[in-house]
C-alpha cells in the first residue's frame, strides 16, 4: 500500500469515527422545492427580504441547466436526492462524538499534521478533540484568543461574524451588498447556493480601517462546519484593507459530496482585499472513487477607483474543481490579481482559472497560474481577459504554466481574450514542462532523495504563487504539495 492510500484510509477512519453517533439530527428529507426553501429560511429565523431573495433565486435556478462546458466528467447529480438542511449540531452533540484527547486520535492523522507543519496548539482543534479550543486558549498564556481577537476587531470597527449572525445583526449591510457581485441567477451553481445556502462568513471593514490582523489566524481555529452551500461576503469601504484566508492545509472531510459555495468581495475607492484559499477537501481514492465535487463561484468587484483585489489559491483537494475566482475592475485605476497553484494527482479533475473584466480606465490585471498534474489527473486552466469599450489603457499580463509528472496525466489551457478597446495591452505567456529525468538525476546526485528532489522542482515551479501567500502559510502550502504528490514518483 502506498503512503497516499494509507493517508486516505486513515482520514477515512477518522471521518467514520467522527460521525458514528446515534444522536438524532434535524434533517429535512431529500428533495428541493419552494417549501424547502421556505423551511430553511424559517429555521434560520430570517427576515422577509432574505426569504424573498432565496425564493427568487430558486425560481431562477429551476429555469437553468447544469453547465457542461468544463473539461470535467462526472455522473449526473440528482438534485432531488440531496438533503438541503441539517441543523447545526449542539456543543453536547459535538462533544459526544469527539475524541477525548489527542491520544485517541489516529496517530497517522497526527503524522499528517506533522508533515504539514501545523503548529502543535492547533492540531487538537483540527482533529476535533473535545474541548480543544480551551486548550488552544491555554497555549496563548491563558488569555482567550477568541476574546482577544474579537475585542481587537471590534475596537477597529471590523465586523467579522457568521453569515447568519450578519443577517440577524446587520441586515442593512447584507441587503445592500448581497448578490451585487454574484447575482442570484449568475450560473446554475450560484443560483442553487443563493436558494439554499447554509451559512458562511461575513466581513465588513469600515472606511479607512486597516484590519488589524490576518483573518486567517482566528478563522482557522474557529471555523465551524458551515456545510456544503457556503456563502461569504466581504466588504471593504473606502480606504479599508483586509486579508482573509479560507481553508486549511489539513485534510478536510465532509459527508456531502457536492459543494457549491459563493464568495462575493466588494472593494470601494482605494480599498484592498486579499483573499487566499488553501483547499484540501477529500480528493477521492487512488482509483478515483469518491471525493468532493467543488463547484465554486468567487468574484470580486473593484467598485471604487484605485481599489485592488488579489485572489491567491492553492487547490490540492477535491475530486472535481470548477472554480474561477474573478475580478470586475469597474473603478478607474483598479487592480485585479490572481495567483493560483492547482495540483491534481490520481484521478482528480480540475477546471479552474479566472476572469478579469476590465471596465474602468487604466485598470490592470495580473494572472499567474501554475497547474501541476500527476497520476491520471486532468488539469485545465480556463481564463478570460475582457477589455471593455470604456477601459482605456487597460493592461493585462497572463502567465500560465503547466507541469506534468509522469505520462498519464493531462494539462490543458483555454485562454479567452476579448479586447474591445484598441488601447489595451494584453500579454499571454504559457509554458508546459515535465519534471525531467535530467532534473531528477541532477538533484539526486547531490544527495537528495527522489521525493525531496521532486518537491524541490515543484516548489520552484510554484514560487511566484507561494510568495503571495501569508508567510506562515507559504511553508504549509509547500508541505501540502509534497503530501498531495506522495506516491507520484518512483
Amino acid at each position: 500500500m502506498t503512503e497516499t492510500q494509507e493517508l486516505e484510509q486513515l482520514v477515512k477512519r477518522e471521518y467514520k469515527y467522527g460521525f458514528t453517533t446515534d444522536i438524532e439530527q434535524e434533517i429535512i428529507p431529500p428533495g428541493l422545492d419552494e417549501d424547502v426553501v421556505r423551511m430553511i429560511s424559517a429555521k434560520k429565523k430570517e427576515p422577509e427580504f432574505m426569504l424573498e431573495w432565496r425564493l427568487s433565486a430558486f425560481r431562477h435556478w429551476q429555469t437553468m441547466t447544469e453547465p457542461e462546458w468544463a473539461h470535467v466528467h462526472y455522473p449526473r447529480i440528482d438534485y432531488q436526492a440531496l438533503s438541503y438542511y441539517a441543523a447545526p449540531k449542539s456543543q453536547e452533540e459535538l462533544d459526544a462524538e469527539a475524541p477525548e484527547s489527542l491520544d485517541d486520535v489516529d496517530p497517522k492523522l497526527l503524522e499528517t499534521y506533522e508533515k504539514l507543519g501545523i503548529p502543535l496548539h492547533e492540531r487538537a482543534a483540527l482533529a476535533g478533540v473535545k474541548g480543544a479550543n480551551v486548550a488552544v486558549d491555554a497555549v496563548f498564556d491563558s488569555v482567550s484568543v477568541t476574546t482577544t481577537f474579537k475585542e481587537k476587531l471590534a475596537e477597529a470597527g471590523v465586523i467579522f461574524c457568521s453569515f447568519s449572525e450578519a443577517v440577524e445583526n446587520h441586515p442593512e449591510l447584507v441587503k445592500k451588498y448581497l448578490g451585487t457581485v454574484v447575482p442570484q441567477g449568475d450560473n446554475f451553481f450560484a443560483a442553487l447556493n443563493s436558494a439554499v445556502f447554509s451559512d458562511g462568513s461575513f466581513v465588513y471593514v469600515p472606511k479607512g480601517v486597516k484590519c488589524p490582523m490576518e483573518l486567517s489566524t482566528y478563522f482557522r481555529i474557529n471555523a465551524k462546519n458551515t456545510g456544503q452551500f457556503e456563502r461569504t461576503l466581504i466588504i471593504a469601504e473606502e480606504g479599508a484593507s483586509v486579508s482573509y484566508l479560507e481553508g486549511c492545509t489539513a485534510p478536510q472531510r465532509d459527508e456531502n459530496q457536492l459543494h457549491a459555495a459563493v464568495v462575493e468581495l466588494v472593494a470601494l475607492d482605494d480599498a484592498e482585499i486579499k483573499y487566499s484559499t488553501v483547499q484540501n477537501w477529500y480528493p477521492g481514492d487512488e482509483e478515483g472513487k469518491g471525493g468532493i465535487y467543488n463547484f465554486v463561484t468567487k468574484r470580486g468587484e473593484c467598485r471604487g477607483d484605485r481599489s485592488k483585489i488579489t485572489w491567491t489559491q492553492v487547490e490540492a483537494g477535491s475530486a472535481i474543481t470548477w472554480k474561477y475566482p474573478s475580478c470586475v475592475l469597474k473603478g478607474d485605476d483598479s487592480v485585479g490579481e490572481f495567483y493560483s497553484v492547482a495540483v491534481g494527482n490520481n484521478y482528480q479533475q480540475i477546471d479552474s482559472g479566472t476572469k478579469m473584466i476590465h471596465l474602468g480606465k487604466r485598470t490592470r490585471s495580473t494572472i499567474v497560474s501554475k497547474g501541476i498534474s500527476a497520476g491520471h489527473a486532468e488539469n485545465a486552466y480556463r481564463g478570460l481577459v475582457h477589455i471593455g469599450k470604456t477601459a482605456t489603457d487597460a493592461r493585462n499580463f497572463t502567465q500560465c504554466d503547466s507541469l506534468l509528472i509522469g505520462d498519464r496525466c493531462g494539462a490543458h489551457t483555454f485562454p479567452y481574450i476579448e479586447a474591445k478597446n484598441a488601447s489595451a495591452q494584453v500579454e499571454h505567456e504559457a509554458t508546459t514542462s515535465k519534471v525531467s529525468d535530467d532534473q531528477m538525476f541532477y538533484l539526486r546526485s547531490r544527495g537528495l532523495s527522489e521525493e525531496d528532489a521532486m518537491n524541490m522542482v515543484v516548489s520552484g515551479f510554484c514560487k511566484d504563487v507561494f510568495n503571495e501567500l501569508p508567510m506562515e502559510f507559504a511553508v504549509e502550502a509547500q508541505a501540502l504539495l509534497a503530501v498531495s504528490l506522495e506516491g507520484s514518483v518512483g
Binding site: 547531490r446 522542482v457 515551479f461 514560487k463
Partner: protein
C-alpha cells in the same frame, strides 16, 4: 584499499553496448584523467558511476570506498562521498542556488548523524567559497543554473564540490565552454581539492585543463575500453599527435 575499483565493466543503453570491459583503479590522493574522442563512452561511464536510470550494467563490478556501488541509489552514492560534476548542468527554475547548496549539505550531514548546519556558519562558508571562485553573492540567489552562462554553470559545479567535499570527484568535461580566465578559476578550485584523502577523475576531451591540473595518471578511452594508460606525458602526446597515432599503436 583503492577508493574506486572498476572491474570488467560492461554497460548498455537501449540494448546497445557502450562500455565494453573497463578496468580502472583510483586510489585516494590521485588525480586521473580520462581522455578520448567523441563517442568513446566517457559520458556513459560518468552516468553509470552516478547511477543514472536507463543504463544497464551487464557485467563487472564497481567498488567505491568499500561499498558495492552498483547496489546503491544515486543519492546514496552522493551521500557516501561521490560527486558528479555535470557536463551540462540542468536548470531548476525557481529554486535558489543557495537553497540547493544547503539541502545538499544537510542531506550529507544527516547521513553522518550531524545536525543541520546553522545558517550563520553556512553563509560564512558559502560566501568565502563564492569569493574564491571569483563569483558574486547575487549568484546564490538566482535559480539553480537558470540563465547561467556556460562558464557560470561550470563554476557552480566546482562551488558545489568545494562545499560538499566529496571523497571522489568525477568531473565530466568541466573545462568545456570556459574562457581562459574561467579555466584558471576552475582549475584553482580543483587543485584546492587535491589531497591525500581524495580522488579526482577528470573526464576531458582536450589536454588544455591538464596544463593547470596535473594528473597522476592518464587513460585513453576508445570504443568503450581503456586502450592505453600512462603518466601525464601521455596527454602531451595526445595533444601533439592526435588520437589516431595512439589508437594505431594500441591496436
Amino acid at each position: 584499499m583503492a577508493l574506486l575499483e572498476i572491474k570488467n565493466l560492461h554497460a548498455e543503453i537501449d540494448g546497445s553496448e557502450i562500455l565494453k570491459g573497463i578496468d580502472l583503479t583510483v586510489n585516494a590522493g590521485e588525480v586521473h584523467a580520462i581522455m578520448g574522442p567523441n563517442g568513446s563512452g566517457k559520458s556513459t561511464l560518468c552516468h553509470v558511476l552516478g547511477g543514472r536510470d536507463g543504463y544497464e550494467v551487464t557485467q563487472g563490478t564497481i567498488t567505491f570506498d568499500g561499498h558495492d556501488l552498483l547496489e546503491m541509489e544515486t543519492e546514496e552514492r552522493a551521500i557516501a562521498g561521490m560527486l558528479l560534476g555535470f557536463q551540462h548542468p540542468v536548470e531548476i527554475p525557481g529554486v535558489k542556488n543557495i537553497y540547493l547548496l544547503k539541502e545538499a549539505l544537510n542531506a550529507k550531514r544527516e547521513a553522518q548523524g550531524l545536525e543541520e548546519i546553522d545558517t550563520f556558519t553556512f553563509m560564512k562558508q558559502v560566501r568565502e567559497l563564492v569569493a574564491s571562485m571569483d563569483m558574486d553573492d547575487a549568484f546564490l540567489h538566482r535559480g539553480v543554473n537558470a540563465g547561467f552562462s556556460g562558464g557560470e554553470k561550470k563554476r557552480n559545479e566546482i562551488l558545489q564540490m568545494l562545499l560538499l567535499e566529496p571523497k571522489l570527484a568525477l568531473l565530466d568535461e568541466t573545462d568545456s565552454g570556459l574562457d581562459i580566465d574561467a579555466l584558471k578559476v576552475v582549475s584553482d578550485g580543483i587543485n584546492r581539492m587535491r589531497g591525500e584523502a581524495r580522488g579526482i577523475i577528470l573526464v576531458t576531451h582536450y589536454q588544455r585543463l591538464l596544463n593547470y591540473v596535473e594528473p597522476d595518471m592518464v587513460h585513453v578511452l576508445y570504443k568503450g575500453k581503456i586502450i592505453k594508460s600512462g603518466d601525464k606525458t601521455l596527454a602531451h602526446r595526445l595533444e601533439a599527435e592526435g588520437y589516431q597515432e595512439i589508437l594505431q599503436e594500441a591496436s
